[in-house]
């Protein structure tokens, strides 16, 4: 019998409709995989078997019911999905990877949770993440690091590390992440999955734990571009409860990305792509660079033109981001004061309780960013740091605008300067960790959509290719990404499962926290 977890979401959808398999069977197979793999991977913070099976049974009813097969049936009906643990699901815990929210129960559903319920997707549980989505390795989770199934001694990237691993390790065909500076695309690259950060304003953030409100965006992970596009279709669109959610129509063509490889590859013909030279940053691994160059050659071979272009302010992105994002975070995280959110610690006055609640509830990276942001916004430094960064942000955005005004369909670039690194490798030096996002964070600064897709292996570890488009071009990006996927359908790396997937269900394996400790992880 086929292992149901190895199917792509659209293949599962076909089998659900033919009656070959039920949503309950699919859901049980994935719950079993998630439970078996969580000791060695730690990708999940909550697995809710009972609730998932209830949703699966409801989906099976809909699949059999009088309206079955109607146009209202979304391809996600009955399909298991994993949610990053900063998305509110009514009645369930929502920690954002932080000690300060341990035991917090969401009293309402996020907008995207409502959307997933309405299309009949099955929510399996909540995935591990860097605390408050601050990190590029998932090592900043208060609930322990996550292992990468390609090499269990390496990180999966972050901050949506658990969501990336849930998909890479076949615990779910689809998952949801958030991306503030690369937190979907970078872990997608490091785990060999597809991950998209949509245009700012594309998906409502109502019910999502906020990190940096001018940058945060929600997006999909999948093992295939068509599946990722279908998940985006389910969650995107205007919601009046998020004032930044834009009244821009969501194209239904997201559900009809070409299935056929030849047709998909044909779509690359005549496309004009830019290759920003600044994205081949100093310190980029030569072998990762070669994979990107091979991908570019492949795109050219399929009839696209690829021109070297310049985004001259790329090098200022890191400094700009690490002013804007911490400044916004320091304001957003003021609500964790033991009164509005978090346990009230201490026995003194109000100030004493604040200091105790926040001092003990937040981990080191969150404290660092709150300190940075508070400093950048403090009297005497506001103009020098925050206003200056907002002005440079304008320059970064103009770089992209200029290229798209010249008629480029998309930009192609590396997603990450390196493949997955070992636990502890960047924990002692925050700036080294921040550089992991050098190729992704300018895209957030400009509010643009970007997708990372696998483009090969470097010494056995996945490399991601990033496609960046103008605002609201998600459909075009998915078509281009699908074209590349089709082009490489026969590549030897394409069909490979994560190299250490077999070890992930072995209860004798160390946990990721034990591996990290052995490697001198916590710094």
């Amino acid at each position: 019998m086929t292992d149901l977890t190895r199917l792509l979401a659209h293949e599962m959808a076909d089998r659900l409709r033919s009656g070959e398999v039920s949503s309950r069977e699919l859901t049980e197979a994935h719950l079993d995989a998630a439970e078996a793999g969580n000791h060695a991977l730690n990708a999940w913070l909550t697995i809710d078997r009972d609730e998932a099976l209830r949703q699966a049974d409801a989906a099976d009813e809909r699949l059999k019911g009088p309206d079955a097969g109607s146009a209202d049936d979304h391809p996600l009906l009955g399909i298991p999905v994993a949610l990053k643990d900063l998305i509110s699901v009514r009645g369930g815990q929502c920690t954002a990877g932080s000690r300060i929210l341990e035991g917090y129960i969401s009293p309402f559903d996020a907008h995207i949770t409502e959307r997933l319920r309405s299309v009949g997707a099955v929510m399996l549980g909540k995935t591990n993440m860097d605390e408050f989505a601050m990190g590029s390795s998932n090592e900043h989770s208060a609930y322990g690091p996550v292992s990468n199934p390609w090499d269990l001694e390496t990180v999966p990237g972050g901050s949506s590390g658990g969501s990336a691993v849930a998909v890479a390790a076949y615990h779910a065909p689809l998952s949801i992440g958030t991306d503030t500076g690369g937190s979907i695309r970078q872990p997608a690259a490091l785990t060999g999955t597809v991950g998209m950060k949509p245009t700012y304003g594309r998906v409502s953030r109502y019910g999502i734990v906020a990190f940096a409100s001018s940058l945060d965006q929600i997006g999909p992970f999948a093992r295939d571009t068509r599946d990722a596009a279908a998940l985006l279709h389910a969650i995107a669109g205007r919601d009046e409860r998020d004032s930044t959610s834009a009244p821009v129509p969501v194209p239904d063509e997201l559900l009809t990305i070409p299935l056929n490889d030849d047709e998909a590859a044909t779509g690359l013909r005549g496309k004009r792509l830019g290759l920003p030279k600044e994205y081949f940053v100093a310190g980029m691994e030569p072998d990762s660079r070669r994979r990107i160059e091979e991908a570019v050659a492949g795109l050219e071979g399929a009839g696209a033109t690829v021109e070297e272009v310049s985004l001259p302010h790329t090098d200022y992105g890191l400094a700009t981001y690490y002013i804007v994002a911490p400044a916004e975070a320091s304001a957003n995280l003021a609500r964790y004061d033991g009164i509005r959110f978090g346990p009230q610690l201490g026995e003194g006055d109000v100030l004493g309780n604040y200091l105790a609640t926040r001092g003990r509830g937040f981990g080191p990276e969150v404290k660092r960013r709150i300190m940075l942001g508070t400093y950048a916004l403090s009297a005497g430094y506001y103009d020098a740091f925050y206003v200056k960064a907002q002005k440079v942000r304008t320059l970064i955005k103009r770089d992209f605008d200029t290229l798209f005004e010249q008629g480029f369909d998309a930009l192609v670039a590396p997603t990450s300067p390196s493949v997955a690194f070992r636990f502890g490798a960047k924990m002692a030096d925050p700036v080294a960790m921040y550089l992991s996002d050098a190729c992704t964070l300018p895209v957030n600064m400009a509010g643009l959509p970007g997708v990372s897709i696998p483009c090969g292996l470097s010494e056995g570890m996945p490399v991601g290719l990033q496609l960046i488009g103008p605002a609201w071009s998600e459909l075009e990006l998915f078509r281009l990404a699908r074209g590349f996927e089709a082009l490489t359908a026969g590549a030897d790396w394409r069909g490979k499962e994560p190299a250490q997937i077999a070890l992930t269900t072995d209860p004798a394996q160390p946990t990721p926290a034990q591996r990290a400790a052995t490697l001198g992880g916590r710094g």
């Binding site: 917090y104 009293p107 309402f108 245009t199 700012y200 304003g201 001018s214 009046e240 004032s243 930044t244 834009a246 009244p247 090098d315 200022y316 890191l318 400094a319 700009t320 690490y322 002013i323 003021a334 004061d337 009164i339 009230q344 006055d349 109000v350 309780n353 604040y354 200091l355 105790a356 926040r358 001092g359 003990r360 937040f362 080191p364 404290k367 660092r368 709150i370 300190m371 940075l372 508070t374 400093y375 403090s378 740091f385 206003v387 200056k388 960064a389 907002q390 002005k391 440079v392 304008t394 320059l395 955005k397 925050p430 700036v431 921040y434 600064m445 400009a446 509010g447 643009l448 605002a471």
Partner: protein, 97 residues
């Protein structure tokens, strides 16, 4: 740009309402200064005539009708409070008697 002294770090921690240990303050002093060194790069750019960007999608204000909708159930909201009484969150006295 000026570096942060130990007392600056303590002042910022106070502004941020973070209770930090002496070890944390020492570690942060070094790390924050290292990160601030990266910010210095921005001084290379002349941004005198450049407007700041606070958000990227250039949406006009979108107003919605002022419609009364049900609020969240008080008991479910208060379940997350450390202490509650009579439908309120209990906090220490803010003004001395």
């Amino acid at each position: 740009m000026p570096g942060l002294s130990r007392s600056d770090v303590e002042h910022v921690a106070h502004l941020a309402r973070l209770g930090l240990t002496a070890d944390e303050l020492s570690l942060l002093e070094g790390q924050l200064n290292h990160i601030l060194d990266q910010y210095a790069k921005l001084a290379e750019l002349d941004t005198e005539a450049i407007p700041p960007t606070a958000q990227t999608i250039e949406l006009e204000n979108i107003l919605r009708d002022d419609v009364v909708t049900p609020s969240l159930p008080v008991e479910e909201v208060l379940r997350n409070a450390s202490e509650s009484a009579g439908g309120f969150v209990v906090v220490p006295p803010i003004l001395a008697e």
